[in-house]
Symmetry: C2
Subunit: 413 residues, 2 copies
């Protein structure tokens, strides 16, 4: 099959995918292959011995949350002894921000691609400060997780059901016209999410206090919609996966140790190399030496044509990730060099409504020597601390080179 035809097909499938948030249910009840002794995590496969601090912290926290372990040592022992399996979210049509640890009792958003029928999943965003996804697992983190699960999740589930589905592609189209890029800045998108949910939350919450708390939690968290957005991007990227002969990247993900990618025409194979530390701005009292290597499945946003690729739409983000508004425009312009298509539904007003660069072509990355620009949060390298900054990072070039060699071998070029 002709590579150009294959890539056109893969990119168009990603662009035509229409991800709609259709529900929220316990992971064990909906994620394919989820089981009681399984924890999902961000990025490519990894074992405990190679896991970074924040990933270990999130694993410990999830086992405590599940009631399977009482403390760090017990949790670690369960994983090391093989009582608990660790598998990538991406092996289960799922994505999670930062450590991305999802355990069976956690509720997950269900996104359905109405164009092609595939589904994807992500957990509920915890907000800021000390949170599980950055490897924090103390009692206050557990308490928030329990409130989210016991109080908020049933309300969100009923509100989403009452909404008859929230079209995340449309939400993202609007948010890109409101200064979001959809990865690190989801401020407008989270308010559009609040707008879609609030009339239903008021009706289904059961008590006015609960309605008020849930509306406050969703409204005050400018990352509320990040997880549904990531699931939507996963559904879009998956729609472009498994196209015979395509060199389009359909997964980019990091587990805090390795950065991994998958290629549309190369099935389930991962190409991995050590992840770099993001370059960015640190919160007061933290510095680059405290930073963990790049972590999280949130690079699914860039994979689907937003996030760092759409930075030109989000000039205000430079106050958070460093740089100038002109740098933000330049980043987007550079990304056109390595992407196969321009998005039909995601447009950038600042660039005369040009579509975002969509569908990373491994060939172009290698030929031009330009790696994808990712826009991300920075975790402390020790477990239990949390977010310490935000910045920009690029995957190692080696994984694209390796993927291109594998592609040539697979297809006999």
């Amino acid at each position: 099959m002709d590579i150009e035809e294959a890539n056109t097909d893969a990119a168009q499938r990603m662009i035509e995918a229409r991800p709609v948030l259709v529900g929220l249910r316990k992971a064990r009840d909906v994620i394919p292959g989820m089981r009681d002794n399984l924890l999902l995590h961000a990025g490519p496969p990894i074992t405990w011995d190679r896991a970074s601090g924040p990933l270990r912290g999130a694993i410990i926290g999830a086992l405590i949350f599940e009631g399977l372990a009482d403390d760090e040592d017990a949790a670690e022992a369960m994983v090391v002894n093989g009582e608990i399996d660790l598998e990538p979210c991406h092996h289960h049509q799922t994505v999670g921000p930062m450590a991305g640890v999802i355990s069976p009792s956690m509720s997950v958003y269900i996104v359905e691609n109405e164009t092609h029928g595939n589904k994807s999943y992500s957990n509920i965003n915890e907000g800021y400060g000390k949170v599980l996804r950055y490897g924090a697992y103390s009692e206050d983190v557990q308490e928030r997780l329990r409130w989210m699960e016991d109080v908020m999740a049933p309300v969100l589930a009923d509100a989403i059901a009452a909404s008859e589905g929230i079209d995340i592609r449309t939400l993202l189209s609007e948010a890109l016209h409101m200064g979001d890029e959809g990865h690190n800045r989801n401020k407008a998108g989270s308010l559009l999410f609040l707008k879609a949910l609030s009339p239903h939350v008021a009706k289904v919450a059961g008590s006015v206090e609960t309605a008020s708390e849930v509306l406050g939690f969703i409204g005050d968290n400018a990352l509320s919609v990040l997880n549904p957005v990531m699931a939507a991007c996963k559904a879009m990227a998956d729609a472009g996966h498994d196209v015979e002969g395509s060199t389009i990247v359909t997964v980019m993900a990091r587990n805090g140790t390795d950065f991994g990618i998958r290629i549309s025409g190369l099935g389930e194979r991962w190409f991995t190399a050590p992840a770099d530390v993001p370059d960015g701005l640190y919160f007061p009292s933290f510095e680059a030496d405290d930073a963990n290597a790049d972590i999280g499945d949130s690079t699914i946003t860039e994979t689907a044509g937003i996030g760092g690729f759409a930075m030109a739409a989000a000039p205000a983000i430079v106050t958070f990730v460093s740089g100038t508004p002109k740098d933000a425009v330049n980043t987007t312009m550079e990304m056109y060099e390595i992407n196969y298509a321009e998005h039909k539904h995601f447009t950038i007003p600042q660039l005369d409504f040009r579509g975002t660069p969509t569908g990373i072509d491994v060939r172009k990355v290698v030929e031009k020597g330009i790696t994808p620009c990712v826009n991300t949060g920075i975790a402390h390298k020790e477990p239990g601390i949390g977010q310490i900054g935000a910045g920009l990072v690029r995957p190692p070039m080696a994984i694209f080179e390796e993927a291109l060699v594998a592609f040539a071998e697979e297809y006999g070029y």
Copy 2:
């Protein structure tokens, strides 16, 4: 007094003003000088015989709403016979969008400038379609007004009280980083307004159905926050008014027939000339011949340094008002030519976070031959129809020339 010193003082007072939404009450109970036989209207003073179609329609609608007239003829007779007085909103620390007709029984937002203590008022936004502010007054318009007054206003009043005040300056600062310019595009600001109100609305609404309806109405109307924003801009502009020796414009307003301005150092005097028809984009089935002349107090936004002056922050607005994103940037750049200061709190990410042009200096307008650029809705010229488009318009140069001559006479230059 030195003009430069006076203008610095006036502009800094406008910039340092901190308008906070503190309440919602019936116009008759809070607006200074409001009385049972008084209707407020947008723009400079006008009589029925010179009033435009949309202003006449709104007057008729307000008298029907008040139960003072049963139909058009009765309403007109009351005004012509002198039973009803018409006075500008601006004579009562008040502003209203488009026709800007406010009657005693309507609830109005109360904004207090916490820096200087002055207050301002505006009515509740009705949303889109056939609405009183565009001169529509049919039974469906009346029904919506009654629901707003009887059902929504008490909820909003209690929610605002429970919020302990909503800082509109901060809200605008955020909205300008989210693609709003604060006059014609208040999409992000209205969602920030929803975010601030929703936890309180859920608690105070009295029934879940009412909470749901109010949250839906506020969330679905991307102009929900326009009226509090206008009141905030009025409070800011008023803070800069009455500075002895200042040539800064503190009011720009149109009644659908005339465009009027007031100058900080020239007290309560209006300078007026016939208003032009905006140049813009029309909704399907309408054209420029259907358009009324420029109308509304919403030009208070430009007077305070946002709206058309901040268009560079809102590139997506060109799909609504015509032009290209580059035109939007050029408009803001041109406005720096005629403004005295740059805003400290309202910044434009696209221009490297430069402050918006603030404080129109009559001298600069006349010397450079550049009039302020206003970004506005377009009303049908016949009463009862409503909005037919949106676009850009400029006040007549004659009123700035006249004001400058008056200033020279007043101060003996």
